[in-house]
């Protein structure tokens, strides 16, 4: 009995120690999209940030919609996302502040080699989607309020089409899983180039539409208004935002991915304006 009591005591003490609140200002929570994690960029940047500042960064990788919603509730200190229209909405509401551009890459429309809707080489992505809808060709959507999904919805709007089943398929999953599904169903989909490159050898999908200005994938960092909730670490959030825009960090972003894919995945754009891109 004494031995059991001792074991229980150790457990209780262990849990209490683990649960004891650490000094709040040393921990920063970043809410961000799955694409930055899937591409592996954060695995490179976070250790550098922690070494430089002595802060601990916790990364929560979710869809852009959820990343912004978490920050608006004060559950995160800084946000790195890629859905400009949504971001502006939160800035206007005063929930998020100091939106600054960090880096850019682009989206591409990919599909089966046979290209049943004949969209290959189409200049405007919206026109390509209109053709897909007119042909009733299968299209896989993320359907998860991610940055990619938000852009896709705005493209459908420009195309003047309300996509619907049976040719419109919503995966509800991340970009990688969605590419796999599109490959399996011989369907079109919209993907960020980084994930497509990472998945390139796995899927038989080919790039059909690229280079449209509407397909620019702009990542911004936003700081969280401390009024959103208790315990927001505004100083820590600002430290990470400043870190992303620092020249040394931007240099790391510029070369990231070259070793694995033979080309960089992101172009750093600190200090530039959206109109100039």
């Amino acid at each position: 009995m004494a031995r059991i009591a001792a074991v229980l005591l150790v457990i209780v003490l262990g849990v209490a120690a683990a649960a004891a609140p650490g000094p709040a200002s040393r921990t920063v929570i970043l809410s961000t999209t799955t694409s930055t994690q899937d591409a592996g960029l954060l695995d490179v940047l976070v250790p550098i940030f922690e070494r430089q500042t002595g802060l601990t960064l916790k990364t929560v990788s979710v869809g852009t919609g959820q990343a912004l919603a978490l920050a608006a509730r004060g559950e995160a200190d800084v946000v790195l996302v890629h859905a400009p229209p949504l971001e502006r909405k939160y800035v206007e509401e005063g929930k998020l502040t100091k939106r600054r551009l960090v880096m850019v890459n682009d989206f591409v429309v990919v599909g089966p080699e046979s290209d049943p809707a004949r969209i290959r080489g189409e200049k405007r992505a919206a026109d390509a989607l209109a053709k897909i809808a007119a042909a009733g060709a299968r299209f896989v959507s993320r359907g998860d309020k991610s940055g990619t999904h938000v852009l896709e919805q705005s493209l459908w709007k420009q195309a003047g089409v309300t996509p619907a089943a049976p040719w419109y398929i919503e995966s509800g999953q991340g970009m990688g899983a969605t590419l796999g599904l599109a490959d399996d169903r011989r369907a079109y989909t919209l993907t960020d180039r980084a994930t497509y490159l990472a998945f390139g050898r796995r899927v038989a999908l080919t790039t059909l539409v690229e280079g449209d200005r509407a397909l620019l994938n702009v990542y911004s960092v936003l700081e969280v208004n401390p009024a959103n909730g208790p315990r927001v670490n505004a100083g820590g959030g600002k430290a990470f935002a400043d870190f992303l825009l620092a020249p040394q960090t931007q240099a790391v972003i510029r070369t990231f991915g070259v070793d694995r894919f033979g080309q960089p995945l992101f172009v750093p754009i600190a200090g530039r304006k959206e109109e100039d891109l």
């Binding site: 457990i11 683990a18 609140p21 916790k58 929560v60 990688g176 796995r202």
Partner: protein, 231 residues
């Protein structure tokens, strides 16, 4: 098929070269789920035994609730634990969301009803006449409970196996409350989802083989104890 072969080869390579990232993930999973199992035992065994031995109004309702709890969906637990641990939540001051402690908490909540339910069944299987006999021979109630638990200890090892097996392979709660942070809260199952999402199927297969080996190893040890009755 070639992927599976590549996965097995990758698993062997990761194991043999002692890949530090993989071992850190393996070790974290083992620690987190091990501690959560211990906590669920500390809570579930006394509660299950009490439920088996006591008679009170509404007991059937409580037993039904425990049996339902044995099938508690991990995502549901994950969601509620997340809400509790949010900065704006009632336990926000602890600041343990996205830490291993949060995963331990969620997994203990998932495993406790499993341990409780199996303990309940094990203790009820000790014949009631045996209990009455002991009391009749002058044993005190605590002595009687001690002996009954000792009699039920072998079936109760099944509780440990079921609880541990359930939470080490659980993904929904670990992902939600842990956040799958590299080097901090990335467990075997969350790493597997991430690697699959990245298209690194070999690594995902390797991790799943490691998980199977780990669960098998733990169960083998416990089963050996149970079957040889050395304990």
């Amino acid at each position: 098929m070639d992927l599976l072969v590549a996965g097995v080869r990758e698993a062997l390579r990761l194991l043999l070269t002692g890949d530090s990232d993989v071992f850190a993930i393996l070790w974290l999973s083992l620690q987190v789920s091990g501690l959560a199992t211990l906590i669920s035992l500390a809570l579930g065994v006394p509660a299950g035994a009490a439920l088996a031995l006591l008679r009170f109004p509404g007991r059937t309702l409580v037993v039904s609730a425990v049996n339902t709890g044995m099938g508690l969906p991990p995502v549901v637990v994950g969601l509620f634990v997340t809400l509790l641990l949010w900065r704006s939540g009632p336990l926000g001051a602890w600041e343990i969301l996205y830490t291993p402690a949060a995963i331990v908490l969620a997994q203990a909540v998932i495993a406790a009803p499993i341990v409780m339910g199996i303990t309940l069944a094990a203790v009820q299987n000790v014949p009631e006449k045996f209990r009455l006999q002991m009391l009749g021979l002058g044993a005190s109630r605590p002595q009687m409970v001690g002996v009954v638990l000792r009699e039920a200890r072998l079936p109760m090892l099944a509780a440990v196996m079921a609880g541990f097996g359930g939470i080490i392979s659980e993904i929904g709660a670990s992902m939600m409350v842990g956040g799958n942070i590299k080097g901090q809260t990335r467990t075997l199952t969350t790493a597997m989802v991430l690697e699959t999402g990245k298209g690194n199927f070999e690594i995902a297969i390797a991790l799943s083989l490691l998980l199977l080996v780990l669960v098998f190893g733990v169960n083998w040890t416990l089963t050996a104890i149970q079957q040889r009755r050395v304990w």
